[in-house]
Symmetry: C2
Subunit: 534 residues, 2 copies
Amino acid sequence: MNKTRSWWGWGNVEDAVHGVELAELTRRTSAMLPDTDLRAHEPPDPRSLDIRRPRVTVPASLAHLGSDDLVDRAAHAHGKAFRDVVRNLHGDLRNVPDVVVRPSSETEIVDILDWCSRSNIAVIAYGGGSSVVGGIEPRFDGGYAGTISMDLAALDRVLEIDRTSRAARIQAGVFGPALEDVLRPAGLTLRHFPQSFEFSTLGGWLATRAGGHFATLYTHIDDLVESMRVVTPAGISESRRLPGSGAGPSSDRLFLGSEGTLGVITEAWMRLQDRPRWRGNATVHFSDFEAAVSATRAIAQAGIFPTNCRLLDPAEAFINAGTASSGGVLVLAFESADHPVGPWLDRVVELCRDHGGTLPEPPRRTDSADAPAPTAVSDAWRSSFLRMPYQRDALAARSMIVETFETACTWDTFADLHASVRKAANDALASVDAQGVLTCRFTHVYPDGPAPYFGIYAAGRWGSTLAQWDQIKAAVSEALANAGATITHHHAVGRDHRPWYDRQRPDVFAAALRAAKGALDPAGILNPGVLVDP
Amino acid sequence: MNKTRSWWGWGNVEDAVHGVELAELTRRTSAMLPDTDLRAHEPPDPRSLDIRRPRVTVPASLAHLGSDDLVDRAAHAHGKAFRDVVRNLHGDLRNVPDVVVRPSSETEIVDILDWCSRSNIAVIAYGGGSSVVGGIEPRFDGGYAGTISMDLAALDRVLEIDRTSRAARIQAGVFGPALEDVLRPAGLTLRHFPQSFEFSTLGGWLATRAGGHFATLYTHIDDLVESMRVVTPAGISESRRLPGSGAGPSSDRLFLGSEGTLGVITEAWMRLQDRPRWRGNATVHFSDFEAAVSATRAIAQAGIFPTNCRLLDPAEAFINAGTASSGGVLVLAFESADHPVGPWLDRVVELCRDHGGTLPEPPRRTDSADAPAPTAVSDAWRSSFLRMPYQRDALAARSMIVETFETACTWDTFADLHASVRKAANDALASVDAQGVLTCRFTHVYPDGPAPYFGIYAAGRWGSTLAQWDQIKAAVSEALANAGATITHHHAVGRDHRPWYDRQRPDVFAAALRAAKGALDPAGILNPGVLVDP
């Protein structure tokens, strides 16, 4: 069945929250935040909105690639952050691309960039449109003649598979599920499963340094890149397929995280893995969050590298896994295509017990390619994980403020960071007169620090939730900046994080990046306003 | 005892090959290459050479940091490659820095860069001087008023240790042993042990993306960097201490591998590890090299990550470990501070047996912080490893051509690459009329490919060994380039690899790098001729 992508919210229209799920969601929300006005608001028909008429005309030679359909343009105007969804619900579409252009070859991309460079038209490379940082939104100054959204979904093929080296040459526009469908018959997988997996593309993951499946070791898509091909206005850059190199600064690392400002990623050789057969899982409860953090740190520093090592604080465990725990829940998992994972699992369970953790159920192990063995908690959590964005939309349409933000910090600073983020969030909630809670989980852990991921669930006022959220976001971003943490761990910078990014990255590096951009994008047309100004 | 660093060769004068070691070395060499003229040649006294007088005068405010001592200057003229040692032996020092300057603070570095930017004086940042690619040699055109070698050895302190996050803030000029001495009492270690460990510095490792101890997982120093501080002529760049980030392209990755062309690395927060307690070792023999490669690939793709996974081909095993084996020897090791490594070791041994490997001795395991448990072969190999550069010098002074070169490639291309390198080396040996052998080992292995490391042992003609080697090097470099492999895996580009690097790195990236250099080093004084031209 072909589903319909929502123009205003997450994913597919058919998968929106309804029925029992909706009843349960509103029941839980009301229980947590009584007296909240949860009446539903519907998005407008984009055709009814006063959307600016296209300011640019695609040249005849490329006209067949362009679309000025109003819904198409509206669907390409915003990403999928809470603030995007809320603005869509209110029909606030002041920045809409003039045309959506869908190239299906590199030659066409070159031609489009030539046209836009000549004509002073801004170009926003668009993958799945799941940015949560304003990365694909034509929101910038600079006197451009117009803006095109370059939708790369037609570059959706896996061009080569090298079974021996476990790598594949993949076009940038392929979405997660289609990619895995092609790799599965070869017994291979990219194993990059961000929450957006179904609605984001390889090119998007690379351009934003997306975070994926692994809680340890291979956390960012960066680590899975063997080589890249990028079309820039100054020419095509292609790096060699190398498992490792020390020949000068890495060219791939310049384009990873470049967010469409230096060129358009068209394809990459990606490192793959054998599909896992052996699995092990454990869910550990703690009575004290500090002890839970210490246990997680011990695991992160043990050189064991669990696939999943997700610490949920009590609020997170309750809201998203339905589990009561006074000190948090640690969800652990191992996967291997090569060997049973028993000794690995045993050791991390032992480390947890050393730190006061208890296991309501014994660890589980399975030996089968097809039957995953999640525990009840990880099962609930996984299902909740994939439904979260849909539930976020349902709540956003019911005056709730529901959004996440994430960071990374060293272990020595986490407790202070956590306290200041909590204080900043609670103060901001109070100042915008919103009842709400802050949750925290670790999505990834490193030997030298965690990547804490925070959630806000608060009762807003219809018509004000955008302003309320923006105030909360600014407050917690200040707290992150003051703590020396990063403004983003795996959701990129875009336009929303720019002020804090400007303080985070060294000025000298900004000068280097600006110069590099000047060399690769002399007309300054690529994703203006993101990362550096010309 | 304070030892004396050799001005012309590797390491310390007192540790040069002599006595029994020398007798054994010449005996083995003669056995392998009969009729070789192994008469020893002595290096000249640099004071007897016609070395250019200094062309620059250090300003009064910095004069106390400068040295124009002839031996000092001569010692900073070349790195420690075979071609450096041979040129030193022949007194061929046509490119000598005018002054050696030894700052002991960032402020002094800033002042030096200001002076040199104003006065058009080239600056070569110098760590331990162990470059094997002409990286620190003042060999370039460009009409500079002179060249200084900026020796950073006075920046040798560990400034902070964060035991919780397992990280330390370390100045760039510290040498390996001094660094480990400071970390040891805290139970920590950087565990970066390149062959040059004793004679190279943190800053040098970072600037050249050095390869270290680990055969898998954390192969390059890059992976151990938490943040960096770099003095550029345009200002100081300092990144935040972060365990992971996705905020734009990584600034650290721009400076890693920049080889002194973008700035002077002054300090870095480095990720440390607990000192290992449990160890496991195994040495596996193969009767067929192809099977040995397959076994190594299986291990690299198993997600087990041995500390050491060094495949020696039969010639390498014989020359450097004294072991006869028709298909090669795989040296495996595990280390952990957290857990016994038995299950890990058992699995890789099983994988080796699946591929026809045999174990002359059973695998060994120890549980002690102090008693390493190498097998006889790895013992012999380790000792040989540290003596190699000294033996290389002894042989270089005896008309031998002894040098290594390394690369990395994907597994699917290794067999062809190996064949073409072998053919290129053998053809080149024949064309320069030198009897010799080519050896191969894997220093590092990745899931998608190995890092093959080749050695040449050939009988040259005194007075011609430099030209002979240059011809061989050009031939094997062509073979690497034609195979799509990298010109260097962990020895950087310098001046010697530049022609092949220029073909390897994308032109578009070169344009970006050139622009970045223009922004950070507007006077173009930093290590001219390396990586990009202004």
